[in-house]
Amino acid sequence: MINAMLYTYNDITKDVVESPDVCIIGSGAGGAVMADVLSGAGLDVVVLEEGGYYTKDRYSAYKPAVAMKILYRDYGATVAFGKNPIILPLGKAVGGTTVINSGTCFRTPDSVLRDWAQRFGVQNASTREMEPFFEQVEKTINVTRVSPEVLGKNGLVFKRGADALGMSNGMLMHNMINCHGCGRCAFGCPHDAKQAVHLNFIPSALEQGARVYANARAEVITLEAGRVTKIQGSILNEQTGNRLFNLRVTPKLLVLAAGAIYSPYILQKNSIRLNAELGKNLTIHPAVRVTALFDEIIQGYKGVPQGSYVDAYASEGIMLEGIFVPPEIGLPVLAPIGKENKEAARRYDHLAAFGVMVSDKNSYGSVKVGIDKRPFITYHFDPHDFKKLVKGIALAAEIFFAAGARTVNTGIFGFREFTSPDDVAQLFTKKVPVTSVEMMAFHPLGTARMGEVRDHTVVNSYGKVHGLDNLFISDGSIFPTSLGVNPQVTIMSFALRNAQYIADHKGAFFA
């Protein structure tokens, strides 16, 4: 047993039977905060997490490829299908995606909160009303600006280019303490510098008496007379994935915090349809990577991979944020086959990379139960949003040339490497089909929208499912629209607010 109340499959020797006040499915940004607040309010809390529990010593031992196999769902290759399949990496561990995200922190933009209030009737969630929750979250996860010592040259060259063009830019805010700039944020921080929720909210919940089961997959949710009465599942062998023991939890209240893909999926799999909006309205914040070759040595894998940003076009929904991966992850996409493969590998130290993310305003996706009984994700990329993406690629290319790049690779199929800033114009004169761009996305949201307009939302302004008395959702699925920025602070802040709402109304929920 790692902690008195944190159990992994190694600790469990018989079927697990629990009857807590609250059961939380998922231990990521939404679930961990809920567990902390509700256990702090004197409630008996049980958390179920399908992934394993890992520590910094284990992260250090993992090469990136191994980390992707262990800490991610589907080896990091969960796919949203559409005209162009989009890779959507999701974490699977105690701490959820906060274990493998880049650590970037933004508050919810004011314009987004106002939009939610106006269009979806979200109540009591203005910037002013959210302020104390933002503050508390930022304090707990230690949000601080990336320091130049750990930024790394990848961030520095891009900043140099943006400065030369007079574009607004800066260092990103991260949840870090004593960052060493190892470039491994996406594979589990080997120094526990990144303050993922398994380092703060989860330990605090454990101290307050919460019980966390790792390797515990929730499978069946039983509803009786409009109330969740039972959760059944399995304790899984971490190595083989085989079921070891049964799991049965009969809580007074259930909080689903499995993320915007798995929360609607588990409800749909159990034929709990709620309303027509469940599983729809998926936004994913599509992104591409632009790379550039420099004469100077960059070694982009040293330093915070996502340390700086350019927000000159943020009002148009275009954000440029740092991104860099080690050669074994980056080369398969960048290096051609044949003799040039090793040549490209040799040049990896001279490569810089930056990400372009666009707020998906008109695009939409959905989550359903697939024919193989796994989540089936679809996504339609709207042409207007795609235009923004192409504009973002052009901006990144211009910035790289301004920084002194010899060549720029947009990653667009059918386009040669750009060798001068004049080449960038091709992006607007030649047709760029959506199928020619290799995309990724990192921030799935929106599949169980919150608000008081019941026909268009699944949960109310505090995350309680419409029409069910004891089911809450606490993850990115409740956000009605794309944020346009990284969502972890928003997810945690709303979880904090909604958990306090539950704690303040204990009499109603736990009579």
């Binding site: 090469k63 990136p64 490829a65 191994v66 196999k69 080896y75 290759a77 162009n84 399949p85 010592e149 750990v150 790394g152 960052c179 060493h180 700039g181 190892c182 470039g183 491994r184 120094h191 994935g241 894998y301 040293k302 330093g303 080690p326 050669p327 074994e328 992850i329 080369l331 398969p332 996409v333 290096a335 051609p336 086959i337 044949g338 003799k339 493969n341 090793k342 040549e343 590998a345 040799r346 990896y348 130290d349 193989d372 796994r374 199929f413 199928t435």
Partner: protein
């Protein structure tokens, strides 16, 4: 490394993937490592052990498609081609105008290259030293 350590592929499948791997990353060139010391196919095989049955079926189907599709167009199998023919054939997958064909090949390329470039000997050959900027 001994082929008996394979967990997913049989000997035949191993041979096909080995031929694909040697076409993607040919011996010699900008740097060389002992091909006996680095076996990306074995690493690949061990890496995908743990995928679902359906996912493994899909990977085997991709490998079979690459091996047998040239029977239709070139009247031979991939493993029977010369190295130059293999390269030209796989470039047809890599640069195909059909997105799904490109993506299928990218998946295979990703698994092979990730296995190869994860090896410590190869990392040393490309002078990849992933140190932190600040040491303890």
């Amino acid at each position: 490394m001994a082929v008996k350590e394979l967990k997913v592929f049989d000997q035949k499948m191993y041979s096909i993937v080995r031929a694909i791997a040697e076409t993607i990353i040919p011996p010699g060139g900008a740097f060389d490592v002992d091909p006996q010391a680095v076996d990306p196919v074995l690493l690949f095989d061990n890496y995908i052990d743990g995928l679902s049955r359906l996912q493994l079926k899909a990977i085997r189907a991709i490998i079979s498609a690459i091996e047998y599709a040239p029977l239709v167009t070139r009247l031979t199998r991939f493993t029977k081609m010369s190295p130059d023919q293999r390269l030209s054939y796989l470039q047809g997958w890599e640069k195909s105008r059909i997105l799904s064909k490109r993506n299928i090949f990218l998946l295979l390329k990703m698994l092979i290259m990730m296995s190869y470039y994860s090896d410590d000997t190869v990392a040393e050959a490309i002078q990849y030293h992933p140190e932190c900027l600040i040491n303890d």
